[in-house]
């Protein structure tokens, strides 16, 4: 059974359809790339899956259950972790405190949450910065923190929104390595990305949006030869 099932999901703002009748499934344990030109509706789609926004029409199912219009904290509790396109770290807290807060979802006591957060810290290479205030971190490190924080909620599905944009080549390699390690744990990943080479190599499956509509699903190899995809990226 698919982990996420998006069925005819539409989101309208006034007269404009940011997402237009999109339908696709995500199987557990996969990495899927969600790509498309700017404004194609990718982040909006993420928001609807994660509960930050409500679909105007359509259904979203998680693990077979209808979860359309659920609240973000319900999504988190069910196992959906996400990062934000514009970084949203908890600025007044240290790195470790950011992770501890997220870890509290599955760990009741402070001690247990902190211990788990420490593990996540170590695993994501943030140990040296554990006691640094999150607001003072560089952009790339903040993105890493967001990813770590999403991990600290012990998610089954990870929605990564442009975690690779603006990174130097070295940082990109480290980030890809982290994503692959996370995937190796069995966590399902859906990536929104603009950095094409990365997406092509990381994701065995792509979903392509353009103007809110789904125009292609399939392998990267097929995507580069698909007319609709080429038109979307290269056309007028």
């Amino acid at each position: 059974m698919s982990l996420i099932s998006v069925d005819g999901v539409t989101k309208r703002f006034g007269g404009l359809a940011a997402v237009d009748s999109v339908t696709f499934d995500v199987e557990p344990g996969t990495i899927t790339g969600l790509i498309g030109p700017n404004g194609a509706g990718k982040s909006t789609l993420f928001s609807m899956i994660a509960g930050t926004q409500r679909p105007t029409a359509g259904r979203i199912s998680f693990d077979g259950k209808d979860v359309t219009g659920w609240q973000p904290h319900q999504a988190a509790a069910a196992g959906v972790g996400r990062t934000f396109q514009l970084m949203r770290v908890f600025g007044s807290m240290t790195v470790l405190e950011n992770l501890t807060t997220a870890a509290h979802l599955r760990h009741r006591t402070k001690a247990a949450a902190r211990a788990f957060a420490s593990d996540i810290c170590a695993e994501t290479g943030l140990s040296d910065l554990a006691h640094r205030p999150a607001a003072t971190l560089t952009g790339a490190t903040k993105k890493r923190l967001e990813l770590a924080r999403a991990l600290a909620t012990s998610p089954r599905l990870l929605l990564l929104d442009e975690v690779l944009s603006g990174l130097t080549p070295t940082e990109t390699v480290a980030a890809i390595d982290l994503i692959e390690r996370v995937h190796a744990r069995g966590i399902t990943i859906v990536l929104v990305e603009h950095v094409m080479q990365v997406v092509m190599t990381l994701c065995p499956r792509l979903v392509v949006l353009d103007f809110g509509k789904l125009i292609f699903q399939g392998s990267p190899a097929d995507a580069v030869t698909d007319q609709a995809v080429l038109d979307a990226y290269l056309g007028a």
């Binding site: 007044s92 807060t101 402070k110 593990d119 695993e123 069995g186």
Partner: protein, 337 residues
Amino acid sequence: MTIPDTVPASGKAVPAKRFPWGRYAGIAVVAVLLLVFPVVVKTSFLQTIGVLALTMAIASTGWNILGGYAGQISFGHAVFFGTGMYGTALLVGHGWSPWLTMLPIAGLAAALGLLIGLPTFRLRGHYFSIATLAIGMMVMSILPNVKPLGAADGLSVPLLDNGFWNITFSLRDKTEYYYTALGLFAVATVAAWLFLRGRIGSYLEAIRDDELAAAAVGVPVRRYKLYAVTMSAALTSVAGSFHVMVVLFVDPSSSSDLSLSTAIALIAVVGGAGSLWGPLLGAWLVIALQEYTRTYLSATGRTIDLMLFGALIILVAVVDPKGLVNLIKRGYRRVRS
């Protein structure tokens, strides 16, 4: 539904934090100062400042939970303070012991907090603050018309026999009021500390920093805001209950004025919102400033006190926007290095 297991640490371990000698030393110093205060200062004027400062510190500690930790800035906390004042005044008038009134009235205040929070927590940022201001003013404008609460004249608290149980002491020497207030402050601070130390504290701070991100990591934002307002209202109400036993009188203007709400908020912010010490430091500074300038400078009728007070408040905010507590922390760090 399986959740992936914890993977054993593959990178370096998190370095341990240094033992906070400075913090404990600071607490000790403050505790000693507070304890010897009434012994060292014998004038009634200063002792009154002490009692009032501690009372407001309790009220602001309550405010701090909602405003400093959860980030929801309220300008209507006088409503909860007033609940404490009116509630205790009423019940003591019916023969209750003042101490026994505190918990039930705090519960009433908590319920009021819930009632106010339910519709207003949908509002973000400034909208929420102005709404609390409006609610506070509404209460103040309605109170003079409420007969059972004494209407515009208010209520007097009957003068009970002296004794701790009645929270009534000799008025010549404020020492006993002071130590009672100090004890109450300690209890209130410990209560706030216990409330905030576990998951609740982290969740409230997350809400303050970024509601959207907080929800994304599983925080039920609305529910936790309601938790915060109930505790916040209860503590502020306790301060009101105590205060009415000191002044033995309550009326609409003394209990729900906008200036009272502003003072409660200001004290926490000047002292350092988001820290449990903020309200204490802020209260002493603000109340001392207020009383000193009013007594010694307004005698000239030329309100230098207001100017000075205003200027000093501005100075504190500009020098360290995070409040006195942060100023002290920074100074301490400077000295250490």
